[in-house]
Homo-oligomer: 333 residues x 4
Amino acid sequence: MNTFGRNFRCTTFGESHGKAVGVVVDGCPPGIPLAEADIQPYLDRRRPGKSPLESARQETDRVEILSGTFEGRTTGAPIALVVRNRDVQSGDYDALRDVFRPGHADYTWQAKYGLRDHRGGGRSSGRETLARVAAGAGAGRRPSPYRLAVPGRLIEVHAATDPAAMESEIRAARDAGDSVGGIVEVTAAGCPAGLGDPVFSKLDAAIAGAMMGIGAVKGVELGEGFGAARLFGSEMNDPITEAGFSSNHAGGVLGGISTGQDIVVRLAVKPTPSIRKAQRTVDTAGKEREISVEGRHDPCIAPRVVPVAECMLAIVILDALLEQAKYRGFSGE
Amino acid sequence: MNTFGRNFRCTTFGESHGKAVGVVVDGCPPGIPLAEADIQPYLDRRRPGKSPLESARQETDRVEILSGTFEGRTTGAPIALVVRNRDVQSGDYDALRDVFRPGHADYTWQAKYGLRDHRGGGRSSGRETLARVAAGAGAGRRPSPYRLAVPGRLIEVHAATDPAAMESEIRAARDAGDSVGGIVEVTAAGCPAGLGDPVFSKLDAAIAGAMMGIGAVKGVELGEGFGAARLFGSEMNDPITEAGFSSNHAGGVLGGISTGQDIVVRLAVKPTPSIRKAQRTVDTAGKEREISVEGRHDPCIAPRVVPVAECMLAIVILDALLEQAKYRGFSGE
Amino acid sequence: MNTFGRNFRCTTFGESHGKAVGVVVDGCPPGIPLAEADIQPYLDRRRPGKSPLESARQETDRVEILSGTFEGRTTGAPIALVVRNRDVQSGDYDALRDVFRPGHADYTWQAKYGLRDHRGGGRSSGRETLARVAAGAGAGRRPSPYRLAVPGRLIEVHAATDPAAMESEIRAARDAGDSVGGIVEVTAAGCPAGLGDPVFSKLDAAIAGAMMGIGAVKGVELGEGFGAARLFGSEMNDPITEAGFSSNHAGGVLGGISTGQDIVVRLAVKPTPSIRKAQRTVDTAGKEREISVEGRHDPCIAPRVVPVAECMLAIVILDALLEQAKYRGFSGE
Amino acid sequence: MNTFGRNFRCTTFGESHGKAVGVVVDGCPPGIPLAEADIQPYLDRRRPGKSPLESARQETDRVEILSGTFEGRTTGAPIALVVRNRDVQSGDYDALRDVFRPGHADYTWQAKYGLRDHRGGGRSSGRETLARVAAGAGAGRRPSPYRLAVPGRLIEVHAATDPAAMESEIRAARDAGDSVGGIVEVTAAGCPAGLGDPVFSKLDAAIAGAMMGIGAVKGVELGEGFGAARLFGSEMNDPITEAGFSSNHAGGVLGGISTGQDIVVRLAVKPTPSIRKAQRTVDTAGKEREISVEGRHDPCIAPRVVPVAECMLAIVILDALLEQAKYRGFSGE
């Protein structure tokens, strides 16, 4: 299912080398100012080709709002956002038509659907995240007394945690024709207490699903995360005082519901699967092949996960805010 | 929302100290043999009070099938499973009526709903997982050529990984009036390739949501998980040979779709928040209080997460199998 | 799918001659007073056996609230309502085990699922509506400044529109070993303007789906309904004045959204398919048979559709109120 | 919610005078041949301006497939279909900016959202149905042994049932500056037995919701429909013989599940609300106004409902086929 969210529903479409990538946002409240200029900066930030360490693909992505606004404001109608694909060098992928790239969705997509658009990963391309960023950018436009902010950053690359060391690790991997993984942390500040459901649709469960739903992510944790396994209850529990919680080991969620503190999420991002180094694989006929993935690839995809993770976190929280608003609006009748 | 799953939809209900806990399973295929005796062993396995290291609460839970079967087989109608609550000592909780236990959902539930059933955690109690286990037990009854198995186990407690050492850690925590966290690993064997969607409804995203939706879980990872952040692409990518994948760093999912290998999931479980040790908190009037949570509590909840995680993983996979069956059934018309 | 509603979600379960019939209501706002005594009168009203013209089946249905309330109020947790089946004379149905009753779901259920609970129609029995009435009764308990009322009544039986004439038609059909159809009208008074969506999830579309989803209903119309096909636009359009709409040909919905006027719905109910008169049919082996359906059947099912239609209309409107409350609550933050 | 369908999910977007109207179809099985040329004829058929009795608006609608196909076949990825709006004379609507047209969604949209795109009805325009037709055209492309056909036709206008008489009624209404209603009948031939669910998601309930969800529709009936209220059970029940059902009073659905016979649906369509004749209304300030709706309007909208109803019926049936395919595919594993 290509739709995310219960109340703020984002349906993305598009393939890496198709005509366009886009999203229909359904459930956005009416009256919110929204124009292309509000969304474009988020896409620019996500865009590759800005540093020598990133893919050189030139994506001069221009978003167009096709529907859902009138005189600069949302109307309550579905908002369709479309970005035309331009810098498409599909020929680059001809050699990959019948070969499954290791670490990619090539093999599994074929197993599932029986046919696939091999060009640039098709629907499974990271380019699809552009649609999520566009939707999340819209989410960020909502006026609110909460002043939600969702800053993310790269906190680790191949065990390095210092920015210069992280850059050095990425450079070394690139020069070796290889790639390297990393860890991203996103924090949501300004989220009120009371968001999320006690069972199944917990806020942290929704966050985990959203984050693991980003390509290349292999792990998600909140607050102490995996470190919680090494703590005592007396260390993990956040005492409550008259001034509020005195620590945030929980990462902003207790029993699936937000505490009002910062929501702190970390994502483990695997190394970019496309590497120049030779790898063993098979073709669609099952015959073994050696493959070296040429082309424009990020040696570390983690930095580019940052804006996507931010946008997904914003969408999850906005979705929960709308869910919670139901009760407020109802009792306030 | 108290419903989990798109095709195999489980709606749970019930509170720790209410009349009953149960689940309605909607979307179960017809013709599958199902009786109380098929479900009961899973509940018995989940039940506490079996070891000195577990809560002494005696839950002689007997499941009753209220609907959805006829002459021992499912009919395609919704299956209601109910377990009456019996060993209810609500009086134990009188002292907690107006106090928020640290690490629990007490504070957040109050923030969300404005009122709460304080007895034993109410709806946020771990007892609700009984309903998930019952549903998952039903899921396990499906006949299939795949012979899906979802064995789980405790692999770490407070950094200890040897069973005797783990038990010792739990005992020490208990004796100190404290609790301790752990890590659980669940593996799904026999899952065919092709399950899960490429975007949003990825199999690993669904698994992450399901696992983080279990109480006390603070982190989820597949395959190399957070370790992937320290690997090179040439280490992480699983080569494909004529005999299939030659390693499983991915943990059985690529691009959100199952590879046909084992699906390997790990969960970080925080220490049980209920501890005898004194903690600072506030009451519903906002006044500071010191609290010592007496009663029957597991010093380490991680072992009891195992059967719940197994059942949730079985449900996620069955749900994805049904989704995938749509295409098979359609093209086979 | 056995769930109805987007915000106020009702999942029913149970068969006519199984152990119980019930419903789980998920999404009910917290803080609403609710006890068995609030629901029971609705069930009593729906119950058959109250007049010589109704089925003599004695259903002393007692509802039990299994979850979702605490100290007499809803908590926001799912509300499970269960009614045990008692006066079950399954033996009556032995003769029907292998025969498809004309006009019933016997043949189609078998075609769909390959097996069926033949006793009293199984899941397709009208007894399932008991669960909807219980859910709708809960819906009626919500406190609101709107004072929503959903009175329904029988307005036509076999072309007769006078109550005495309708009763006479029913009596004549019964005495002839036959049954007869009728028309039910339900009006929702007190529904505010602004409920329903402009596309797909229109309020009238939701109402039509809910009403056609009641067994034996073959047609649904709002306002002028089929009569609108014989009107000019100048007759059909409701003029708007400073005092509001000056007529209600629309039946309370324009463009899928409520106008604030009464919502007027009519349902065509077919004659009870169970009749004593001999009918031709086949058995499960495909062999022709003659059948005469003995047992306790209403000669006209339309009167018993009234409370079900009322409850379904209440549920649809409450669901739309909650949906609309989202926007109110959100902008009011 | 702007999404229709559970398995074949159609999310439409766009306003009458915005940049484009479109649909994202999610859940379409892979491998189905699909090109713009397959969809265009359906749009051409829906297009107005083909007869002197229709709106003169020249909609040279050209559909573009933005995603979801590769080398002429569907891939399983979401299919985005977009039609740019061209012949937009928004100036025509300036006079209507602050006035609520009677019989339209103007008043109710304002009540719901607090602001609206007044141009041509905005999102509530009949032009949105273009997206549904595009989606339904795609639905019609599926290869199937069932050879589903969904022919619709106008069967009544202002009580006239003869084609010449119907045309004469429409002409007379137009010449009087008025409009007139009608009845549309759509039949689905080739639908297998077993589609639809026994409760809530009944096939006829889904059809009723889909049909009432088309603008201007005020009533829906299947088979005998409202006429069933005037029949005896012995007349209404369809006898079953070795050769199958010997009549089709039910209209192809029993107990919510298809019988395998033709599905026969009738829709009551109200007169076009836009008429030249003077009508009383109010403006957004609540002040009374007289309005005469000039512009290009169909004096009878019923003929143009035909292709929309056909497409919606095809979508509902395809959705149910996919749902049913789940069980087939599952048991066939």
